[in-house]
Symmetry: C2
Subunit: 156 residues, 2 copies
DNA sequence: GAGGTTACTGAGGCAACCTCATGATGAGGC
DNA sequence: GCCTCATCATGAGGTTGCCTCAGTAACCTC
């Protein structure tokens, strides 16, 4: 018996989550970005320049937390803050060239240990897992932390 | 589309994880325990008095982290530390009566929103999810954090 | 009883969230 | 023009759940 046989599905879920976090942190280390930063970067790539608040909506986190991720990305030169010409209170978060490069590098390296973890499943299983996870997300309802309208945005 | 359509299975996984964390924190609030504390308590119930180090093994976390969880549980009066009669360096973590009561109460209330989340799936889907999660755990290998440090030698 | 090992814990750190308060700014009333 | 209220981002500070590193006490072998 290595770990505990997790007693419930949620325990199981957490056990997998812990593994994933460890794995992806390690695999992303060469790039000096964390998983959540990469996630935000990807979202920015897909949705073009958006405000921190909107980004928060996309990521499903509090606006304040988006500020932090943007801080981290900006510090690494991966994004840039620009004043929104339509609203001087707001800023637009723009992906820089280095940011674009990094995102591409990570993607092409497909290096995420987390992905490799999932790659351990065969195609059918992975699809099934995806279906179940999506189902869970839908179940909890789209309207939980979606304070932001989240415009569809242009396809990146 | 509420949030972003998560781009990869890992993103999906994290999205579900975030929901779960939020949900279970809320549902456990009345008892003033956190999910990880409850998990540890459950493990202690199943495995009887064990040392912190052993608990860490069961939970798949570092020994030092087990100390913390035990601290929290002890502070709440849910467990008690006793000196291991066989080894005076070691302590045995023992579930107290209040701890037992709380575990029972939580279980019987079945109140975990996280569980309710999973309960949203029908029987077959839940079983399938469980199978897949277990598969993922096995894939990454039982011997990962089983006993001690696990120093994979991170790049950098 | 020296020397190495093991058990726990103090100190300190980090990631990724959170809430609440504050300072601009925008939008609308009068 | 001015006042008020909503909204945007952010500062300040907190929480959870992990981590490593170093130290101390106790155990174990020779």
């Amino acid at each position: 018996m290595e770990h505990d046989e997790p007693a419930s599905v949620s325990d199981l879920f957490w056990a997998v989550a812990r593994r994933m976090r460890r794995a992806s942190r390690e695999s992303l280390a060469p790039w000096e970005v964390t998983p959540s930063q990469l996630r935000a970067l990807g979202t920015l790539m897909r949705h073009g320049p958006v405000r921190p608040g909107t980004l928060a909506g996309h990521l499903g986190i509090a606006p304040r937390s988006a500020t932090e991720v943007v801080d981290a990305l900006e510090e690494r030169g991966l994004v840039r803050r620009e004043t929104d010409p339509d609203d001087r209170r707001a800023t637009l978060v723009v992906v820089t060239d280095p940011g674009r490069d990094l995102a591409a590098a990570v993607r092409s390296a497909r290096a995420s240990e987390a992905d490799r973890l999932f790659a351990g499943l065969d195609e059918a299983d992975r699809a099934e897992l995806e279906r179940l996870l999506r189902l869970l997300l839908d179940r909890t309802g789209p309207a939980e932390r979606t304070l932001m309208p989240v415009d569809p945005g242009p396809p990146g």
